[in-house]
């Protein structure tokens, strides 16, 4: 039999046949590994989760014309959006703003691709339906209150078009929108309807973009658009991007702090358990030394036991950690978390390293045991 085989037999025998004591240590390692694996999973998934979460708070990038004309067209927008990875685009809503009257009351008109508006502003609360056909309009709550319109009512919009001629058009209220902001004073039409009333087409005043990216990535995207798209000036919606960045930084710091505390507690628990193991095995250690074991052999055996314990605890913890991360993700974000296979070996390695460090003091204590205790009968 090879020495290595006997070594494995000794350390596995020690763990398997002394289950009650080692179970406590295994439990400590597994709990530590579970928290570690779970929090690291959450840590790496937070930007994605938070990104999706923050997308529900509205656009995070605004494109405005940089030229003197004060407007741009669809081609300029298309050019600008080439700087954004297609997979990261949640929604791009171009707006055209004009003024018009309902019952001789002046209101701001916004012409937009309302399907895209729905993507960039998912937090809007619409009573009724989103417009799904030309001739339908979404009106703000303030407008609805002022002229007493409810979904299904018809109204006439009047005003002056680009050429200076009067226009008039009939629309049906498909829904009333509440946003808690300025939008409640707007009448939202489809771009085609507003262009039709104004007698021209293709004019865009501002574009609201919702992009799934971190604060830093968004800054890079804005910089690229500024360089690559002439006539387009990108502006970050700071209240969204900065809030996202601040929340992410704080969450990540919290995750690291909790992880560090849990690892420290794990280390203390394992060290305490291993100290107890050494104390209760003093005679055995003395015997091994009396049989000729060197200090290095004793250290290797205890570290081997610790490493095996760490590996088993790590394996157990990586599985439980994913379950823990899934639970946290579902409870906090309401979405499942993505599984990272690399976390299994990483958790096992980290657990082995933590256990090995925790074993250093007990191992040192083990090597100081005097072999003569086997004769003294202590």
């Amino acid at each position: 039999m090879k020495r290595q085989t006997m070594y494995m037999r000794m350390i596995t025998g020690s763990l398997l046949r002394r289950r009650s004591r080692m179970f406590i240590a295994l439990l400590a390692v597994a709990i530590g590994a579970t928290i570690l694996s779970g929090l690291v999973t959450v840590y790496y998934d937070i930007p994605r989760q938070m990104g999706q979460e923050f997308r529900s708070y509205g656009a995070n990038l605004i494109l405005v014309p940089s030229g003197e004309e004060g407007a741009f067209d669809a081609a300029a927008i298309e050019g600008a959006m080439r700087s954004v990875p297609a997979d990261d685009i949640v929604g791009v809503a171009p707006y055209r703003y004009e003024t018009g009257k309902i019952n001789e009351q002046p209101f701001l008109l916004a012409g937009a691709d309302l399907a895209e508006v729905r993507k960039t502003s998912p937090y809007w609360f619409v009573s009724g339906e989103w417009p799904d056909a030309d001739g339908s309009a979404l009106i703000g709550q303030e407008v609805a209150d002022m002229i007493r319109l409810v979904p299904g009512d018809r109204f006439t919009l009047t005003g002056t078009d680009t050429a200076g001629e009067n226009f008039s058009g009939d629309f049906t209220v498909s829904g009333v929108v509440q946003t808690g902001g300025d939008e409640e004073g707007f009448v939202f039409l489809s771009s085609a309807d507003l262009d039709g009333l104004m007698g021209d087409g293709g004019r865009i005043d501002v574009v609201e973009c919702s992009i799934s990216a971190s604060s830093d990535e968004l800054t890079d995207i804005a910089a690229r658009i500024g360089e690559d798209a002439p006539g387009v000036s990108p502006r970050l919606v700071k209240r969204v991007t900065e809030s996202e960045g601040a929340v992410l930084t704080k969450l990540k710091a919290l995750v690291w702090l909790v992880t560090a505390v849990v690892l420290l507690l794990t280390m203390i628990t394992v060290a305490t358990t291993m100290m107890a193991v050494v104390a209760e095995r003093r005679r055995e250690i003395g015997l091994r030394k009396a049989l000729g074991a060197s200090d290095r052999s004793i250290a290797r055996e205890f570290l081997g036991e610790g490493a095996l314990l760490g590996g088993c605890g790590g394996l157990l913890g990586s599985g439980l950690g994913f379950a823990f991360a899934q639970l946290v993700s579902m409870q906090v974000f309401g979405r499942p978390i993505s599984f990272q296979p690399v976390l299994i070996p990483a958790t096992m390695l980290a657990s082995v390293a933590i256990t090995a460090v925790a074993c250093l003091l007990p191992v040192r204590s083990a090597t100081t045991v005097d072999p003569a205790i086997v004769l003294r009968g202590e």
Partner: protein
């Protein structure tokens, strides 16, 4: 030829003198008994002879090496290579089988050999108990495993500390038969005992009192008491 010589050995623990100017020899193949009351210095002497402690003064020559001057690491090596230890409390590792307990001694000495370990168990009549844990063995069986472990590396000197102290009469006889056989095979043995009948089995008895050798006498008939014909 002497394999062990203690010359003017003194061992102090602070102000306590555990051994005082002790001289003692053991020739190759000799069976020596050490007797004495508690606190007489028997354990201290066993520790020194067993390479687990060093004397405060004096020289200990084991197989031509002055072990009172070697480093702790070398002392471990000498203990591993030349000494076989048998304990009153057996000191088997509880989570290893009888066979594995013997292989542990091989592991620290050179290379574990399951076949050799099984032969050692057979020699003490326990081959069929090889896979049993110590808790599944009787006291006598545990002591026989302890003896097999002490013999597995063919030590130059067997040191036995009260080997029958925890055994009933039947098991005491079985163990003593093994010692008689070892003696007949030419092993050098030192047995520490309180029991005069066990001491009489040896060729010579050294009596320690208050850290001094007060008697060093040859016994009349050595290794020939009841049951000695039993082949173990």
């Amino acid at each position: 030829m002497n394999i062990l010589e203690l010359n003017d050995i003194t061992k102090d623990y602070g102000s306590v003198k555990a051994l005082k100017n002790v001289d003692m020899t053991l020739s190759n193949g000799e069976w020596l008994a050490i007797m004495g009351p508690s606190g007489s210095g028997k354990t201290t002497m066993m520790n020194i002879v067993g390479c687990m402690d060093k004397p405060t003064s004096g020289t200990v020559m084991l197989d031509g090496t002055n072990i009172s001057e070697v480093s702790a690491k070398n002392l471990t090596n000498i203990r591993r290579d030349k000494i076989g230890l048998i304990f009153q409390q057996f000191h088997l590792i509880g989570y290893l089988t009888a066979l594995e307990n013997i292989m542990v001694a091989q592991y620290y000495h050179s290379m574990p050999d399951e076949g050799e370990a099984l032969k050692a168990l057979e020699r003490v009549g326990l081959r069929e108990r090889a896979k049993h844990l110590p808790s599944q063995l009787s006291g006598g069986e545990q002591q026989r495993v302890c003896i097999a472990r002490a013999l597995i590396n063919y030590p130059m000197l067997i040191l036995a500390d009260e080997p029958t102290g925890n055994l009933d009469e039947t098991n005491e006889q079985i163990v003593m038969d093994i010692f008689r056989q070892l003696h007949r095979d030419g092993s050098s043995i030192i047995v520490v005992t309180h029991d005069p009948e066990i001491a009489e089995e040896a060729e010579r008895t050294v009596v320690l009192e208050h850290g001094k050798v007060t008697r060093n006498t040859k016994n009349a008939v050595a290794g020939s008491r009841g049951g000695d014909e039993k082949n173990v």
